[in-house]
Amino acid sequence: MRWLLRFIAWATLLALPCFWLDAAYVRMLAGVSLRLLGLGGDLGRIPPPDIPPSHVLGVYAAMCLASTRAPLARRIVAVAAGLAAMVALEIATGTLAMHWAIESARAPASPALHRLRDYATSLPAWLGAPAVWLLMLGRWELPRAARGVRTSRGGPGGPASPTSR
């Protein structure tokens, strides 16, 4: 429960800078994707994603900063490496989305394939932050109730078990 409170506090704190940085960050992502595809063009004409990528970064950073069971050094590494991984993931999915959009303009894809591509490219927005957080800090933070070694609080932020440090 304390982990959730810390998470909401950090996420609230980080929401404003993420909101302010959003337009610049989306322009940067679009610019890199266009360059990777060897295209030029007006960045302003590219529609922004439904869930702003800067928000996903803020949520990820908040998850890491709330994870006090992990050693401090590990948390710092998780924030730095995880944010870099999330930016790379956004660039990869953005580039893929643009490539598919260009391909569909040339030869329209079937509705099912179009939906599949839509879901695949929206995946980082939903799964990116929790998956990278689990990979980076899950070792310390994932409750182990289901393995029969339940911690006294059964959730992130509870007292560290002897195996956690």
Partner: protein, 208 residues
């Protein structure tokens, strides 16, 4: 103190020391053994989570009716909640109007993705299958109710503070939605029935 007394005291101390050393060795071996075990547990969970998402994505792409029925269900639930509050909403397709305020419900406005995230996490995590089914059913109801409240709050924001709508919609409610999913997942784990550990193999058992 007699020599014998001192000796027996020393004996007791050495027994305590021996026990402490044994405990320390056992804790140290547990510490040494656990990280790899934890890493494997987490990586396995993330891999199953990814596989679950891949399957769900293919199913959603092949059966668009799921998305359509989620949108229709969300519109109907929100309209029913508005009627309960004594107002008269007007429904036009996936648009809900209350007075001058109109909100369009798109698939991202439904609890489909948060529910999928929650259900796949439960399915991917080791645990009792019955407890998983209970968790998924309870999560479906709670996330649906949460989404109706979220939509009503967004309509109120749009009516009273239209300039703040984008920030509240995207930054506040997306975070709260993730928080709700994480909270439900942690609550499910917190109240999970204890899974008995497999008994350690007997060292005095005869060899086969």
């Amino acid at each position: 103190m007699s020599r014998r007394g001192r000796r027996s005291g020393a004996g007791a101390r050495s027994a305590v020391n021996a026990r402490s050393a044994a405990n320390a060795r056992s804790a140290a071996s547990a510490r040494a053994a656990a990280p790899g075990d934890d890493r494997g547990h987490v990586i396995g969970f993330v891999v199953r989570l990814g596989a679950g998402w891949a399957i769900a994505t293919v199913v959603l792409a092949l059966v668009p009716q799921i998305e359509g029925s989620m949108v229709a269900g969300t519109v109907a639930s929100v309209a029913a909640a508005i009627r309960l509050a004594g107002m008269r909403p007007e429904i036009a397709g996936n648009m809900i109007h209350v007075g001058a305020t109109g909100l369009r419900i798109i698939p991202e406005c439904t609890p489909m993705m948060p529910f999928l995230m929650f259900a796949i996490a439960l399915a991917a995590h080791p645990g009792d299958p019955r407890w998983k089914l209970i968790g998924i059913a309870a999560g479906a109801v709670l996330l649906w109710a949460f989404n109706v409240l979220r939509t009503l709050a967004l309509m109120a924001t749009l009516a009273r503070w239209p300039n703040a709508f984008r920030f509240v919609h995207v930054y506040l409610w997306q975070t709260v939605t993730l928080l709700a999913v994480a909270g439900l997942f942690l609550a499910w784990l917190r109240f999970a029935p204890r899974v008995p550990r497999a008994p350690a193999p007997r060292t005095d058992a005869p060899a086969a």
